[in-house]
C-alpha cells in the first residue's frame, strides 16, 4: 500500500509540474493579449529573436527537436 501511494505521488508530482508550466504559459499569453500590462506575446518575442540569423537557427533547431521528440522517440 505504501509503495502504491509513493508511486501515485511521484507520478502526480510530475504531472502537476507539467500542468503548472502549461497554465503559466497560457496565463502569460492571456496577460499579454488581453491586459494592458505591456507584456509581450510569444509571437512578438519569437519575432524579435528571429530577427537574427543565429536566433532563427536556434528556433529552427528547437522546432526540429520538438518534432523528433514527439513523433520519433
Amino acid at each position: 500500500m505504501a509503495v502504491l501511494v509513493e508511486m501515485v505521488t511521484t507520478a502526480s508530482i510530475g504531472i502537476v509540474a507539467w500542468c503548472v508550466l502549461g497554465l503559466v504559459a497560457v496565463g502569460l499569453e492571456f496577460l499579454a493579449r488581453f491586459t494592458k500590462n505591456g507584456f509581450l506575446t510569444t509571437g512578438q518575442v519569437l519575432h524579435y529573436v528571429m530577427r537574427s540569423t543565429v536566433g532563427r537557427w536556434v528556433v529552427l533547431l528547437g522546432w526540429m527537436w520538438v518534432g523528433w521528440h514527439f513523433f520519433v522517440r
Binding site: T10, W18, V54, W63
Partner: protein, 177 residues
Amino acid sequence: MEIGKGYRLPTWIALIALLAAIAFSWLESATRTFTWQAEVFTGIPVAAMFALAMLNRPKRSDLGAWLAGLRRSLSRSTSTATKSAGLSATLGSSGPEHAPEFSSGAFASRLRESLLVWSLWCAAVIVLELAELSYLPRSQHPTLSSIVEPLLAGSRPVHAVAFFAWMWVGWLFSSKW
C-alpha cells in the same frame, strides 16, 4: 505563402504543396514512435525545412549586430509616457512589413521583462524534461513526449493534425527570413 523576400509561390503550386502536406501527414500518422518508418517520415520535413532555411538564409551571420541591437534596446531608458505611446505603435503590428520598432525606448522595458520571463519558462521546461528523462519508469516520471504519446497513438486524425501543424510551423520558421 512567401519564400524569402519578395517571392510568392503561384497559387496552384501552393495548393498542390498544401494537399501534399496533408497527404504526407496522414501517411505519417500511421507510423509509431521508435520505428524506422517514423524516423523517415519525420526526417523528410526536417531535411526539407533545413534545406529551405539554407536557401533563404542571409549571406553572413549577424550575431554581432543582433547582440548590439539587443544591448541598445535593453539599455534604453523608458518613461511612462513614451511607454504607452510605444505600446500603441507596436502591438498592432505583425509580419516583416510592419515589424515592431524594437529599438524604441518604450519597447525596451517590455522586451526586457518578456525575454526574461519567457526565458525562465523555457529553462523550467528544459530542467523538468531533463529531470524526468533521467528517471525511470516513465509512468512515474512523465516527459512531454510520454504525456502526448497516448493522444497521438490513440487517434490517427489527431496524430495527422499534430504532424501537419508541426510541419506548418517549420515552414513559417524556415521560409520567412
